[in-house]
């Protein structure tokens, strides 16, 4: 048991930090620091830089552009990116579809798609959830009928994040409606968003943002070559994909950055007699979140360090469900601290420099106007990617034998 970073790991962190400082465009950094999501152009530009450096998909097999690194080293890179803050490589491409293709794809699919996923030459979105299939994903209805060398897809997906930016979508569809079990008869398809018959309709979330969409499929022709894995066995791909999702969800680096920023802000935040940071109650609440985040950081490292053993064990580390549950709770708690710091001026809705400015920028400070919007937006964290309730069901089943 050696619980400190090695000199090599420390040196690597320094290298990453310096490289990011030298390569991250100032406007991207600024936008990220404000707490906004990056624009599409910023995301693409930054991921290309990471790709050129060989750092976009370090967790992939080396032959597909990965790095022969330990999990800890990958954690360091990811944490540095989050805590700069810089955009994280697109999860749909790098953490979801990429590993699925490496595990289940044909050689052609791998050769064609993997480099484009890593470089973000193609932007993928995820077509899993449906209006009637949320937590109960396996009850999905979106159907694909084989006709010759095509599938004809009909149905609807929802909560499709950033579909408005996407070039392609990976899709769970029902190919055998007569299968004995719900989980059977599902297939995993890759679909070009430009295919006729696809309609994307924005869903505006309560913070006013356009992040998610409904996607409608009306007789959409998809070449059979775009099937991933075996027909009717798409649930295997989905399960594999979902089980890869968890460590990333802790987002410790991003939360640390948000806290660091809040500490600076709260030192200046107008609070009547004194800055907000000088209120012992506010400070205690903030520190309390920091403490939990420190614990979560250690838990993340434990799960990562256990990764190899986990593979041979065939069972995830009991601590891995902790990451999603506490990680999202802490992100939500931090967003509440921002609301608290913002005070009455937090009532002003945010100015979006991208959109046709809803508010003039100097009504309140930028961070104040974003505080409540972010708080509202982040309520999603405990809902999507396996809600807290679903995570606890999983824990009760898998680890407690209940």
């Amino acid at each position: 048991m050696e619980l400190r970073f090695t000199d090599e790991e420390r040196a690597f962190r320094q290298e990453v930090r310096e490289w990011i400082d030298a390569n991250l465009p100032a406007d991207t950094r600024e936008r990220m620091a404000s707490g906004r999501t990056p624009t599409k152009a910023m995301q693409v530009d930054w991921q290309k830089r990471l790709y050129d450096k060989g750092w976009a998909v370090p967790h992939w097999k080396v032959e597909w552009g990965g790095q022969p690194w330990s999990a800890i080293k990958r954690f360091i890179l990811s944490e540095e990116i989050q805590s700069t803050p810089a955009p994280t490589p697109l999860g749909f491409n790098c953490n979801m579809l990429g590993p699925v293709l490496i595990a289940f794809g044909t050689e052609e699919q791998k050769k064609h798609f993997l480099p484009k996923l890593a470089s973000l030459d193609l932007w993928f979105c995820q077509g899993f959830s449906e209006p009637g299939a949320g937590s109960d994903l396996a009850s999905l209805k979106c159907a694909a009928k084989k006709e010759g060398d095509h599938y004809i897809v009909n149905g609807q997906k929802t909560w499709t994040t950033l579909a408005q930016h996407a070039d392609w979508i990976f899709l769970l569809v029902r190919t055998d409606p007569g299968a004995a079990k719900q989980q059977e008869g599902i297939s995993f398809l890759l679909v070009d968003m430009k295919t006729p018959g696809i309609t994307v309709r924005p869903i505006i979330t309560i913070d006013g943002a356009h992040e998610v969409n409904e996607v409608f499929f009306d007789d959409v022709k998809v070449p059979v070559a775009n099937l991933v894995g075996t027909e009717n066995r798409g649930w295997d791909c989905a399960k594999f994909l979902l089980s890869n999702e968890r460590t990333g969800q802790a987002r410790v680096g991003a939360s640390k950055e948000r806290i660091r920023r809040l500490k600076l802000i709260a030192k200046e935040a107008p609070g009547g007699a004194r800055p907000v940071m000088d209120d012992p109650r506010f400070r205690s609440r903030l520190t309390d979140v920091e403490v939990q985040l420190k614990a979560l950081e250690m838990t993340t490292l434990r799960v990562l360090a256990d990764e190899n053993r986990q593979l041979s064990r065939g069972k995830p580390n009991p601590a891995s469900s902790v990451l999603k549950i506490r990680g999202t709770e802490l992100q939500q708690a931090i967003s509440e601290l921002y609301v608290m710091a913002a005070g009455p001026y937090g009532l002003a809705a945010p100015n979006d420099p991208e959109a046709d400015g809803r508010n003039e920028p100097d009504i309140a400070q930028d961070w104040q106007t974003l505080a409540q919007a972010t708080y509202f937006n982040w309520r999603k964290q405990s809902i999507y990617g396996g809600s807290t309730e679903i995570q606890k069901n999983i824990m009760a089943k898998a680890f407690l034998g209940l």
Binding site: S129, D136, G208, P270, D279, G343, P344, A349, F376
Partner: protein, 380 residues
């Protein structure tokens, strides 16, 4: 002690409830919100016809002489419908300043206009540095012959963009945070030197940032009462906001229970899952505790012992805030994605409750003050 509504009160509740049912469907509300004012002049006129706008004023002044319980009833109904009109700013706040601080002449002039729906008021108080401290006022009022010159900037003036008159706090003497030297002025919104920039609040309602640039007002503009008047009206407003919060929470709870009964996952209504049942029960506990505090607020709104009134109102603000947050958050959580969208009422309740929580002091503000002042139960 008696918690039942009188026949008249029940009538008031029913008629408003009917009106809102008719005029405040989700789609109708969306339309009002998208309009320039952010609320409906039509509905406002209907309130006037119902007598709501003259409710708290003395009959001699042209009002109905109703009390805090009636205000509670009305605000709760408006909360259920997420009504957007400036009822609290004009009738409760503006009305409070007139009732407690204006002369009989002013009331004779203004109250009938309010009651008829022809005069809107807003309270311009918060400043960029003041946070939630009512005594933190940098805006100045300097003597100018018989009148005054007002200079300063006020932010987050709720419904300040559509108000006809502004109730403005300004300092006539002392340092920025002195309790003495604060006065309250009644200023026409179109007075020379007043400039307003309207903006949206986080719950989609409207507010304004208002600059007073050497605004001249006559002697009669100064109301009587200073900071004590401000605190009294703030407390009456907290009572009304608390009742509005109860309406929001009640409606959000009903919406959630309905959803739990109808939404199916894993082949069964999600309301059959015990973890959600217990969460719904906890929501109910929160709602009842909050409702008790909204009643306490109505009772305390007219308390003449200032310290007693403030102390209880702080407790109200803390407890309403705590429970509103739980109910708002769980409304979204138990619905899942659907309540994260603008197209569903669930998330709008969370938003409105969040705004209410951050008006006139958040939980920590009042908890800190209350604990410094000796807590809730002080030695008799």
């Amino acid at each position: 002690m008696d918690f039942d509504l009188s026949e008249d009160q029940r009538l008031l509740q029913d008629s408003l409830s009917k009106l809102l049912k008719d005029k405040y469907g989700f789609e109708q509300r969306k339309g009002y919100m998208a309009s320039e004012t952010g609320w409906s002049r039509d509905v406002w006129n209907a309130y006037a016809e119902l007598g709501l706008l003259g409710m708290p004023f003395a009959e001699d002044d042209g009002g109905l002489g109703y009390g805090a319980v009636e205000t509670m009833i009305v605000a709760e109904q408006m909360g259920r419908s997420l009504a957007l009109e400036p009822f609290i700013t004009t009738v409760v706040m503006g009305g409070g300043f007139l009732r407690h601080g204006a002369t009989a002449e002013q009331r004779a002039d203004l109250v009938p206009k309010i009651a008829e729906g022809k005069l809107l008021l807003a309270f311009a108080h918060t400043e960029v540095q003041s946070r939630f401290d009512l005594h933190d006022v940098a805006t100045s009022a300097k003597k100018d012959g018989d009148g005054w010159v007002i200079e300063g900037r006020k932010g987050v003036v709720v419904h300040g963009d559509t108000a006809d008159m502004l109730v403005v706090t300004a300092r006539v003497s002392g340092a920025r945070r002195d309790r003495d030297g604060i006065e309250v002025f009644l200023i026409p919104a179109d007075a020379k030197g007043v400039s307003r920039r309207g903006f949206k609040t986080s719950d989609g309602q409207r507010a304004a940032d208002i600059t007073f640039d050497a605004v001249k007002v006559d002697a009669a503009a100064k109301l009587t009462g200073g900071l004590a008047l401000v605190e009294r009206v703030a407390d009456e407003t907290i009572a009304a906001l608390s009742a509005e919060a109860i309406g929001c929470m009640e409606a959000a709870k009903d919406l959630t229970i309905d959803y739990l009964k109808t939404r199916k996952q894993f082949g069964r209504a999600i309301g059959s899952f015990q973890s959600l049942q217990h969460r719904a029960a906890e929501m109910m506990v929160c709602l009842e505790q909050a409702r008790s505090m909204a009643m306490l607020a109505a009772m305390m709104a007219s308390e003449t012992n200032d310290a007693e009134r403030r102390r209880n109102m702080r407790a109200v603000k803390v407890e309403i805030g705590r429970n509103a947050r739980f109910v708002g958050q769980q409304t979204v959580q138990m619905h899942g994605g659907i309540a994260m969208t603008m197209e569903y009422a669930g998330g709008h309740y969370l938003k409105r409750l969040t705004v209410i929580e951050n008006m006139f002091g958040d939980m920590d503000h009042h908890l800190a003050a209350l604990s410094e002042e000796g807590g809730v139960f002080v030695a008799a």
